[in-house]
Amino acid sequence: MTQRIRLVVDGKTAEVDADPAMPLLYALRADVGLDNPKFGCGLAQCGACTVHVDGRPTRSCVTPVGAVKGRKITTLAGLGTPEKPHALQAAWVAEQVPQCGYCTSGWIMTAAALLRNTPKPSDKQIRQALAGLKCRCGTHMAILRAVKRAAGTTA
């Protein structure tokens, strides 16, 4: 049953007509026109679709759009911009993290929440916080360096 659902995404309001059971990912990509959250698995197993919902990293591929009505949604593109980068995005560029880069939303959005709660995480805390995310290209070493750079914990 289609409903009109109001979403607040990256600071802008959007209204979508959708089945409330449809995953948020499809609403963001098809209706709001934001392509940066990616479809990786549809099973909350990889993280490529991660957005913040009221600041919490959330797998949009399994989150019904009806469950986030009016809540504050932030995507990777809304986290920061080249002009006003989030520290993690700047660190990602400085450390040259990506290979294919399709997984980026998962890592940066999850790490952003970690750094907000734990500004100077240890290596172990970073690894624990980022568990469950996938990167098929094997950029994990650069990811660890980038998170530490953003936290200011690298030598």
């Binding site: 499809y26 940066n36 990777l76 290979q99 880069g101 399709y102 098929r136 094997g138 070493m141």
Partner: protein, 757 residues
Amino acid sequence: MRSTTLSRRDLLKAGGALVVSFMIPGAAQTALGQAGGAAGGKPPLLPDELDSWIAVLPDGRVRAFFGKMDMGQGVDVAIGQIVAEELDVAFDRVTVVMGDTAFTCNQGGASGSTGVQRGGVTLRLAAAEARRLLLKRASDKLGVPVDQLTVRDGVVSAAADPQRRVSYGELIGGQHFQHKLEWNKQYGNPLLAKGQAKPKDPGQYTIVGRSIPQRVIADKAYGKLQYVTDVKVEGMLHARVIRPPSAGCGPVAVDAASIAGIPGARVVREKDLVAVVAEREWDAVRAARALKVTWAPPCHPFPPMETLYDHIRQAKGIGSQVPVNKGDVDAALKTAHRVIEAEYEWPMQSHASMGPACAVADVRADGARLWTGSQKPHYGRNGVARIAGLPPEKVRATWIPGPGSYGRNDAGDAALDAALLSKLTGKPVRVQYMRHEGTGWDPKGPAGVFRGRAGLDAQGNVVAYEFFGKGFTRQDVATTENDPKDTLAGQLTGYTPKPTILFQVPAEAYDFANKRCGWECIAPLLDKASPLRTGHLRDPLGAETHFASESFIDEIALAGGGDPVAFRLQYVKDPRHAAVITAAAEKAGWTARINPRRGKGNVMVGRGFSYTERNGTIVAVVAEVEVDRRTGRVWAKRFTVAHDCGLVINPKGLELTIEGNVVQAISRTLFEEVRFDRDQVLSVDWASYPILEIQDAPERIDVVLINRPDVAASGAGEPSTRTVPAAIANAIFDATGMRMRRVPITPERMKAALARA
């Protein structure tokens, strides 16, 4: 801003500006980005035309047209450095255009780590030739002999009088060279075109050799990069394909009424290919889940998984080779003091790309378009042409970065699925697979059994060495989607597959007096539309073969009382190879050992060595592991990699590429195995096909780059993949005294082995 929604009419105009702006920011301002035949007389897009490779814009910027593409390692940056270097222009003024059949010649696509090794050669020679022609023009214009001219950032000036100057833009900007090159008349990886100019001596390089970063990384970090999954075309339908629940079973009946309640959803079927389409993506996904299909009864094409290796051992060969046969191995084995034998096993593995493949195709009566993440868009064009019944020149394929690619993954299948469904519906069609198709139905890296046999004399010297691999060919489907027979769409609609019989022997420089290396392939388990069909997965058969061969070298060394590094240096005479082995050992602070440490505590520590070669690139690895006795967990904790790929173009890019190889290879060694039952692949997502996660990433990877400016650059995208697995297994032996000869080395297998110790 880049446009995401492109009108269909614009897309179908050959060389249309909108499409150009999609791929090449800024190109719409100039005619130079356009395909052959445009006013102004750009010569046809053929490899023997300099204009097919290099263009100078009116403002002096340079465009290089590269017929391969970058899969994330920054090959385009390296190509840009090479072109900027030869032309003497600043790197920032060079744009590399990749992967569009309208603008680039077929250099084979991303393939075999040859981006720089082969693709870069023609770009270097073309850029050098362009510089030669530009200097000639400058000489005429300035009235100064060529040998008295200098070039600095695209401005030619008289050495004696720098005020006498002219820029490349003034000399030719916006025009074409109209200049023929010598071409070897081959397409694909072997393509070579050259002019008369001699490229620079590496001693003069100022741009090549620098760690120039990848600009595209910012687009990825800020969520701006458009992937093939993000292409939208007006009027496009979303499709999902329906694969059978049992491999080899076709559809008997499709109940279209089962999706009647989903808006706009309908079934599209051609022979054994079943799909659903809808205007909205979510409706296509729902329809694919809801559709009721009656399938033919299961035919049990696969052996029980636990018997896979016995099946390989016992199966009749369908082709074999003995590429290395030196001395008399049989005679030497008879007189050997001692014979060592061991067998190693490597499973089927999935590409399991980060996202399942996606493609958009628009097939019309008079022409077709394809947007694909495939590594080989030029071949994809040919495949689409055959599906569409069009000549290839009526099809334009555009590569757009896909969700990861390390070989012939599911991208080629998606491309031809999209083309077929577009043809059947008369609309542009976007196909994206679901996760279970991306992992469950991609072409697989082949499983194999590898046997080593060596004869030692009383002093532990090797008198005979034999290595033999047996398994599935690496190419049930070809490396490209050039022919529909090599895709699921083709195989499900009547094209007959024809595998290429191809396997591998170890690549190294061990100088054993009597040495024999060979292989034998067995038939596929299911000859058509098999979820276990094999195809190229990063360093095809390299990880498999060298896991076995370098584990076996370790076994021979220790059996003969030799330190693994000293043993290798005893038999590797080639100084370049020996230097790499020495560099890794020195950097890691290797200490000689003969017996394993066999730690006594709960966490056992060990180090292992491995060395390999791949098409001219030599790699040696020291791995340090921790093995937890209680859980069986192996942590591949530290790596030292010495890497010689000749001339280093971009050191930082190379280091990151090597790191990626190492981490992905750890994943394949410790975690990855495609599981199946008698009827179907059971590895269909990240839970059933686990890969390395960040808690298992190493603590540290040290890379030693051995730069050899006097040796042409060879590949780096794959070579270090094959070196890692044995280094880990050899380190595990050092830590525990247990020889792990089956991959993946899971905690369960490790625990079981420790229980036997």
